[in-house]
């Protein structure tokens, strides 16, 4: 399940999200860093191709389910303007066993960073800004 959120990502419930038959739950949280490539970041803007991102995430999740024995794979990703320390993405994987949960979570996070049509623009203290990962002129 994939959700894009313009609002801050809500805290997970205290009792967790795994059901009774999921012995393991692995959570990845990616937060905005205050420094990147030696520069002070004052804000990070995320932009997404909403529906295309959702469909590509579902493909990634399906690949993870085929490769690892997992139950639920959930992702919430921010869009809009974020400050250093803000939660940008959360991936939750539940499984019967921890090995599958750890492996699937790593796979999903690596693939979403590589493949989802989502972009980030860093804003720096000197008022300049730059879209990340763009090829040079």
């Amino acid at each position: 399940m994939f959700k894009l959120s313009l609002a801050p990502i809500q805290a997970l419930p205290a009792q967790g999200v795994a059901g009774a038959d999921a012995g393991a739950c692995v959570v990845f949280e990616g937060r905005v860093r205050a420094r990147n490539r030696g520069r002070e970041v004052v804000a990070l803007e995320y932009e997404a191709a909403d529906e295309t991102a959702r469909r590509e995430f579902e493909k990634i999740a399906e690949e993870a389910r085929r490769a690892f024995s997992v139950r639920d794979i959930l992702c919430t990703h921010r869009a809009g303007r974020l400050a250093p320390g803000d939660l940008a993405v959360r991936v939750v994987v539940t499984a019967e066993r921890r090995g599958a949960a750890f492996s699937a979570c790593e796979y999903v996070v690596d693939e979403l960073k590589r493949r989802l049509p989502i972009w980030k623009k860093e804003h720096y203290a000197d008022s300049s800004s730059a879209w990340l990962n763009q090829p040079g002129p």
């Binding site: 932009e47 191709a49 295309t52 469909r55 990703h77 993405v89 960073k113 989502i118 623009k121 879209w131």
Partner: protein
């Protein structure tokens, strides 16, 4: 000629100055459409650095264009 809806994102959106436009084009494939638009607007991103999605699905550049398709040109990913 066919009418398609083109969506731009991130650096490409800034270069075009628009997030979305309707384009009448003789292009038969997504690649031909991008080449046409790049020649017209001077985009600084070469096609080899982009991906393309048609109607919400990331697909190959040689995919055929149909009338009313939603075409999204996707700069290199930087999510997560």
């Amino acid at each position: 000629m066919k009418s398609v809806r083109v969506r731009y994102y991130a650096a490409l959106r800034e270069q075009r100055g628009l997030p979305l436009e309707i384009v009448d084009t003789p292009a038969e494939t997504a690649a031909e459409l991008y080449d046409e638009l790049r020649a017209r607007h001077g985009f600084r991103l070469a096609r080899e650095h982009l991906r393309v999605a048609l109607n919400g699905d990331i697909t190959g550049w040689n995919s055929p264009l149909r009338a009313d398709d939603i075409v999204e040109f996707l700069p290199p990913s930087a999510g997560g």
